[in-house]
């Protein structure tokens, strides 16, 4: 019988390798903060313009999540919406297929 799970195996390998690379860099790279590249980018803007990061004020006033917890809650909410969409539709398709 033909092996049918090549892509699944590749995906697992890719994810495991990704995790391994992270473990390696986080333990060997000194000064790696793993902050967002968005913030690193903003830092470079500050360096290029010679203006400190704090001096960049929002052009349109903006609500900021008061803490990292609330931010991660809202990000999880975003992922949840996606998860419901994906899971719901796959379930719907599986149901359709069974009925047919």
């Amino acid at each position: 019988m033909k092996f049918k799970y090549t892509l699944e195996v590749l995906t697992v390998i890719a994810i495991v390798a990704f995790g391994a690379v992270f473990l390696y860099t986080s333990s060997t790279m000194s000064g790696a903060e793993f902050s967002g590249s968005d913030n690193v980018g903003s830092g470079l803007i500050a360096k290029l313009t010679g203006t400190p990061v704090e001096n960049f004020k929002p052009l349109i006033p903006q609500w900021e999540p008061p803490s990292g917890e609330i931010e991660s809650c809202l990000f999880a909410f975003q992922a949840m919406v996606g998860g419901i969409l994906v899971g719901g539709v796959f379930g719907y398709w599986i149901g359709q297929k069974k009925k047919a």
């Binding site: 790696a32 470079l44 903006q62 419901i84 539709v89």
Partner: protein
């Protein structure tokens, strides 16, 4: 890939909004047409759009010692083209601007252009090139996804370099600096994202090949070949 609120001069905010708006309008028009023509397109939109929601919320660590997130736009680009993808991205980015302080309303145009328009457009170009060749469907999905992801971050670098040319070396040296932050971080993420979305596409083919054929996303022969392949 978010440019933070306040970090882009208003002139550039305006430029990118002007670029983004017609694309969004075209996307909304196309979306209405596609959904009116085929009711089965809606679940497919749900799955492909759902992955944009999920993947763009995952901040993953990378080899540069900073974190970034995949875009997840590949599946939607292949299924519905770049303009409809831009509409889905605009919804995600609006949510992130309003509630997460990732990006902002003034820089939303620039962020839509990078994540929703240029990335998917480049991916879509590649998809159109590969669609009618003998290249395997899964390799096509992988390449389109990874490329759309990479070009999103390359575009962000470009937008920032245009707004902030370096004093010595000007636009080019500034572009290289921003690429070093955004694009290099993104390489491993783009590869993993490509593989994951290729796997997802396998399940879409397994469950609902008829919608892919009806929307002429891939030819029937190619879909059938892919079902037997892996």
């Amino acid at each position: 890939m978010h440019i933070m609120e306040g970090f882009l001069p208003w002139q550039w905010c305006l430029v990118w909004w002007i670029v983004a708006l017609p694309c969004l309008m075209l996307g909304i028009y196309q979306l209405k047409r596609v959904l009116a023509a085929d009711r089965d397109a809606l679940p497919l939109l749900g799955v492909t759009g759902g992955f944009i929601f999920i993947l763009s919320s995952l901040k993953l660590p990378s080899v540069t010692g900073s974190c970034s997130h995949p875009t997840g736009t590949g599946l939607s680009t292949i299924s519905f083209g770049p303009w409809i993808t831009a509409v889905v991205c605009a919804i995600v980015l609006l949510f992130q601007s309003l509630f997460l302080a990732h990006g902002g309303l003034s820089v939303l145009g620039a962020n839509i252009v990078s994540m929703g328009i240029v990335g998917p457009l480049v991916g879509y170009g590649l998809y159109r090139l590969l669609r009618d060749t003998s290249v395997n469907i899964y390799i096509t999905v992988f390449l389109v996804t990874a490329l759309a992801d990479m070009f999103t971050y390359i575009t962000t670098s470009l937008e920032l370099a245009l707004a902030y040319p370096a004093e010595s070396g000007g636009f080019v040296s500034s572009f290289i600096l921003f690429l070093g932050i955004f694009a290099v971080t993104q390489i491993p993420l783009a590869i993993v994202e490509g593989i994951v979305l290729a796997l997802v596409f396998k399940y879409i083919i397994a469950l609902k090949p008829d919608i892919l054929i009806r929307l002429k996303i891939f030819s029937e022969e190619k879909i059938n070949a892919a079902r037997n392949e892996i």
